[in-house]
Symmetry: C2
Subunit: 188 residues, 2 copies
């Protein structure tokens, strides 16, 4: 009889997680990823992003048979038609989904069972810069406030410790809290 034990915690394959960490430790080059998106403007405030391939773990990923399609638009008060969330709302989504992954994967690695996890996010924005009416106000969020709720088998101190660790290693939190260089070039 062949015994295969699949260690799943929080829906995360912990054996694969450990194997991934070990593989990267042996060969740091496989940690280099390039993620991509293509966006096409539709009309007014409405544009559409398609996301499919990426490079990582030493090769082009082919796991996605179809692209993800994401809509972006503005609400009527900002001259759009609500064909999708607006861009800064999508930033809040990116942040939350990043923290969810970070929290759940690290909980799994530590053997903490998460029953539920949710985030509420609020971002404050002054539109005057976007509208060309102020150079003193910044265009982006002045601040983001996030609260989260966790149900798990770990004590509160353990959850807070985990959260502190997740904050240090979250890609999107890092992108928001610290400067990322962005180059833009017009093609012919």
């Amino acid at each position: 009889m062949t015994t295969q034990t699949l260690t799943q915690i929080n829906g995360v394959n912990v054996d694969q997680l450990v194997a991934t960490v070990n593989a990267v430790q042996e060969n740091p080059d496989i940690a280099r990823f390039q993620f991509r998106a293509l966006n096409e403007w539709i009309d007014g405030g409405h544009s559409r992003t398609t996301i499919q391939g990426f490079y990582g773990a030493g090769q082009e990923d082919t796991s996605r048979s179809h692209p993800f399609v994401l809509e972006g638009d503005e609400p009527p008060v900002l001259l759009g038609n609500n064909a999708g969330p607006n861009a800064v709302e999508s930033v809040l989504h990116a942040l939350a989904s990043c923290l969810a992954v970070g929290f759940v994967y690290n909980a799994a690695a530590q053997g903490i069972n998460v029953e539920s996890l949710s985030f509420v996010l609020e971002g404050e924005l002054d539109l005057r810069s976007f509208l060309g009416l102020s150079e003193e106000v910044r265009p982006g969020f002045e601040s983001i406030r996030l609260t989260y709720q966790v149900k798990s088998d770990a004590p509160r101190e353990k959850i807070e410790e985990l959260c502190n660790y997740v904050q240090k290693t979250s890609p999107v939190l890092d992108i928001i809290r610290k400067p990322v260089p962005v180059t833009m070039a017009l093609m012919d």
Copy 2:
């Protein structure tokens, strides 16, 4: 005879755009917006964000009868099931949709007809920080490279000038290029 001229350029109601700018100039308080998102973890790397209400222009917005629902997940190589794009890919979507709105609205305000507009985005990321294997590597994108293509009735110099202006006033580009304070609190 009543004449109603609706000035639409690039699908943007330019009269409403001008009225909005004037209204904010008279009363800067209406430029204060609060955007929101709620995220709930589903399983493994999969979480779901709902986005509906926001505060802006002096009141709660009620234009959206249903929430937008956005999925976040990881690909199999990152221990997920491709239920949605991953978090850093969603950042690329947010950036592109922001630049699309900024470009098209400002083009409309200047009377530039945009025929087509598209963005290609690439973000470089080293996973070692997320995996807890390096404190020297940053968790987020090391850099984002963006190229764009425009077809319009304006000369290339005008398009480049417009693009420079959009870069200065884009909320998401500002969020990515400059630090935004984020607070996180665990609820009971």
